[in-house]
């Protein structure tokens, strides 16, 4: 009986183990921090065009640890992230390899490529201010610095300042105002909060609609997402969209991007997929389906993006933002931002 048991167990184990085969010809393996809903259609388009199958696994945490422990046998070829932080973490951990930048010279602007080609931005997202149409006059608030103005006391909502999007914004404030200046700004913003930081970007807009607060900071494409959900349309319609700092340095941008792993077993296919995602077809999909800003110049925007018009982007190097992240998180602790 024991032997039978062992046999059964072994066969289960073998069956499970063989259920996955990585590294075959005609495949590319993807570790993704990016939710499958948007990226899957692009993978499907890629497979249709090239016959190369895309295997993906999505997680919000632990991809770096996974790559690291798997080492040279890791099946992963590409890593997708939705912010600069994780891209640069993976790069700094020595888990990436460089790709010839000249391949993307026509598609990706310089400040969205790592100087040695270790990561590439595919889309950009603007960190915008939204303000209640009813309760905030147009142009009453126009810069990130304004958010710390005491006149907005009790009227601002944000998500946790330790979320990667807020961390990147704070990191850019450190770059422009120094640590002390950024600290003053962050504690000013904290004092203006209407409630303890909570929820995601969408939840902040909802809070404005509800009258909990009047001003929030969000990523721009959430507006597009809300306009697609009947229940959330009224939330999105309750706010004006403000691209901050137009008279100065421009609006803070973050990138979603991709990196080729150091031990990519399907390197050629992986580079093909990268090229595909930087190409016109995919860049247009990013804009049309998710209202993200394509990195490639000259791509048609979605109607919503067109309605907002063009704006000045902060040209601060993504690498600088990445370097200031740890300091930004420490600032958040120091001013006890999330403690509310």
């Amino acid at each position: 009986m024991a032997k039978k048991c062992v046999v059964v167990w072994l066969s289960v184990v073998i069956a499970l183990a063989s259920s996955v085969s990585a590294g075959q010809v005609g495949e590319v393996n993807v570790y993704s921090y990016r939710k499958p809903k948007l990226i899957d259609p692009m993978f499907a388009a890629f497979t249709e065009q090239t016959g190369i199958k895309v295997n993906s696994v999505y997680a919000k945490q632990g991809m770096l640890a996974k790559l690291q422990s798997e080492g040279r046998n890791s099946p992963a070829d590409l890593v997708f992230t939705v912010d600069i932080g994780r891209l640069s973490d993976i790069h700094k951990a020595g888990l990436t390899q460089s790709v010839d930048r000249s391949m993307f010279a026509a598609d990706i602007p310089d400040n969205y490529m790592e100087p040695n080609g270790h990561w590439f931005g595919l889309t950009t997202r603007a960190r915008i201010i939204v303000a209640s149409k009813e309760r905030i006059a147009p142009m009453a608030i126009s810069t990130y610095e304004d958010l710390a103005d005491p006149k907005w006391k009790g009227r601002i909502c944000t998500r946790s300042v330790k979320h990667p999007y807020m961390v990147a914004l704070t990191a850019s404030m450190i770059a422009y105002h120094g640590l002390a200046g950024a600290r003053t700004w962050l504690s000013g913003l904290r004092d203006n909060l209407a409630r303890k930081p909570q929820g995601n970007d969408r939840a902040q807009v909802k809070a404005i609609k509800q009258g909990v607060c009047d001003i929030a900071v969000i990523n721009h494409y959430y507006i597009a997402k809300m306009l697609k959900d009947p229940e959330q349309v009224p939330w999105a319609e309750a706010v004006n969209v403000i691209f901050p700092n137009q008279a100065g340095r421009g609006t803070h941008m973050n990138v979603s991007g991709v990196a080729l792993t150091k031990h990519a077993p399907n390197k050629d296919n992986a580079i093909k997929l990268m090229a595909f995602l930087a190409s016109e077809t995919s860049q247009e999909m990013y804009a049309q389906k998710n209202a993200e800003y394509p990195v490639k110049p000259g791509i048609a925007w979605s109607d919503l993006q067109n309605s907002w018009g063009s704006f000045k982007e902060d040209s601060l190097s993504m690498a600088v933002v990445a370097d200031n992240r740890a300091a930004a998180i420490k600032l958040a602790d120091e001013v006890n931002f999330n403690g509310g």
Binding site: N55, A65, E70, N73, Q198, D333
Partner: protein
């Protein structure tokens, strides 16, 4: 084998199952060490230097994190203790209307993942939720400033909701313990003139204490490892700090150190409890299980109170969130019900079933190994392995990654060197890793059940069986397993339900193109798209219900009496 037959005198080998005692112990030690590996990997990671993270944390947010965590644990602990023990006692010893139905209804909240219930209640109780909208209409309030309403996204909210989904652990274990009470002892206390309250505090409660403590410990460990709920409610616990350090500051080492500190705290708690009852050992008189327990017939106010005490946790922990989910699932049904969705259901069922069986086997092996021959190594490894339950799932996921990848890469290097072939990653990135993670994560549940059941079997039974010539394995198979069948089933069922709900470790360890219900729900839920997540959440709950219902019939049958007669007033 030789050893066993000399011990027993003759005939060691029957069924081909009868390993000699020494091999049993060795196998137990080996398995215990194996399942202890992930936690050991976390602790090992924590040993590396992490720079100035601690001095930064201590001077800023750590004190707040620690006190919030302690309050959360105190709150949830008190809540599950009161709810679990009260309901278990009422079910076992009292008669009042609805008792039969409550008996299994009380288990239902177990099927709800805490994060799902958190989403559901936020949907209901936040400013734009149905409750506040109704209040505003009723009292003609206009803005949030016009009235006070408890904030659901708070420490209090987290305590309430976690308490209400976690009390079934205590209820289950306490009820099983109460059911196994010796009728003789209860009769003696009655003869001595003790009323129901004194009987409870002087006799039943002390006897059930080990089981209750295991229940509370499980609930508290689950509280500690939770990230979904506290993150959603913006409650700053140690787990939140862990993720700040790991994800935000990019320091896995720092995160592992926080995890290790939390583990040390759990170990301390458990040791204190064990130490405080080091002299107690309660063996059940086997025959008394088959006699009827006396019960108290409730009338008037006590009847009403008992009824309410059982109804309330069911309402809050099951009925209300279920209604919220059903409403959303209906609205978003077309977007949610896809071909893929059905695959996810099957994936979840398959993984959970395999992991539950695996956890039971490992628990039996370890518990019986301990019974056979104690030994420091095995009990230490068993303790370490049980700690997997107190580690946040994502951290445990990394803990599983490390030894698996180490094994795969070492084997690969060896094969390359000797035969020039690469075996690549054999186990990492496969479902084996996921199942293993589940077993490690939920071993505490299975082991707690099996250990406490086994502990009640008098050692004289072992001695008798061995004297009769049965070997260690056969004694387990023929005598212990039938006796502890109830406990084994409970273990399998709880682990199954827990696996259905498991999310963070699954996310990290699952293979390419593979989703479970929980990971599927997470795509939406993490984006606060509760509507799209509703059908998946509902399915997790409904599938989780099947074993819960099965479980309740088993617990009831465990005592083969009809409690309808033989009442005591």
């Amino acid at each position: 084998m030789a050893n066993a037959s000399t011990l027993a005198g003759f005939k060691g080998f029957r069924f081909g199952f009868d390993l000699p005692q020494k091999s049993w112990t060795l196998a137990s030690v080996f398995v215990a060490i194996l399942v202890a590996l992930p936690v050991a990997a976390v602790i090992w990671t924590a040993l590396r230097p992490s720079g100035d993270i601690w001095s930064h944390l201590i001077s800023t947010s750590l004190p707040g994190y620690v006190s919030t965590t302690l309050w959360l644990m105190l709150g949830v602990g008190t809540s599950v203790l009161l709810t679990g023990v009260t309901t278990a006692w009422l079910m076992t010893m009292c008669r009042f209307p609805g008792r039969r139905v409550f008996e299994w209804l009380l288990l239902l909240p177990l099927a709800f993942p805490a994060y799902v219930i958190a989403y559901a209640y936020t949907d209901l109780l936040e400013y734009s939720g149905a409750v506040q909208i109704f209040l505003r209409m009723a009292f003609d309030w206009q803005a949030p400033q016009d009235y006070w309403f408890p904030e659901i996204r708070s420490l209090g909210g987290a305590v309430t909701l976690m308490g209400v989904v976690l009390y079934p652990y205590v209820y289950l274990l306490a009820r099983a313990a109460f059911l196994e009470q010796s009728v003789n002892v209860l009769e003696v206390t009655r003869v001595l003139g003790h009323g129901p309250w004194r009987t409870f505090f002087r006799v039943s409660l002390p006897a059930a204490r080990p089981a209750i403590v295991i229940g509370v410990a499980l609930a508290l460990m689950e509280t500690l490892n939770d990230f979904g709920t506290v993150d959603f409610f913006a409650v700053q616990t140690m787990t939140a700090a862990l993720f700040d350090v790991w994800q935000g500051m990019g320091s896995l080492v720092g995160g592992a150190q926080i995890a290790t500190a939390m583990l040390a705290f759990v170990v301390l708690l458990i040791s204190v409890e064990r130490f405080s009852r080091r002299q107690q050992k309660v063996y059940q008189n086997v025959s008394s299980r088959f006699r009827e327990l006396p019960s108290y017939h409730l009338e008037g106010l006590p009847k009403l109170l008992a009824f309410m005490a059982c109804l309330l946790p069911i309402l809050i922990g099951f009925v209300i969130p279920l209604i919220v989910l059903i409403r959303l699932a209906v609205i978003y049904f077309d977007e949610s019900w896809t071909v893929d969705f059905r695959t996810y259901v099957l994936n979840s069922l398959m993984l959970s079933a395999i992991a539950a069986a695996g956890a039971l086997l490992v628990a039996l092996l370890i518990a019986y190994g301990q019974r056979l021959r104690g030994g420091r190594v095995i009990s230490f490894a068993a303790r370490i392995a049980s700690l997997g339950y107190a580690v946040p799932g994502a951290v445990l996921g990394v803990g599983v990654l490390i030894p698996f990848a180490y094994f795969d890469n070492s084997l690969d290097a060896l094969m390359r060197e000797m035969f020039g072939i690469s075996t690549g990653l054999l186990l990492s990135g496969t479902l084996v890793a996921v199942v293993f993670a589940y077993v490690v994560r939920f071993l505490a549940v299975a082991l707690g059940q099996v250990e406490s059941s086994l502990a009640k079997v008098s050692p004289s039974l072992d001695m008798a069986a061995r004297t009769l010539g049965y070997g260690a394995g056969e004694t387990l198979l023929r005598y212990h397993m039938p006796l502890i069948r109830g406990g084994m089933l409970t273990a399998v069922m709880i682990v199954f339900v827990d696996c259905m709900k498991e999310l963070p470790a699954t996310l990290i360890l699952r293979p390419f193109n593979f989703e479970t219900l929980a990971t599927h729900v997470y795509w939406f839920a993490s984006d606060e798209m509760l509507g799209e997540a509703a059908l998946g959440s509902l399915t997790i709950v409904l599938v989780g219900l099947i074993p819960v219902l099965f479980l309740s019939t088993m617990t009831a049958r465990a005592r083969s009496t009809r409690l309808s007669s033989g009442t005591v007033t």
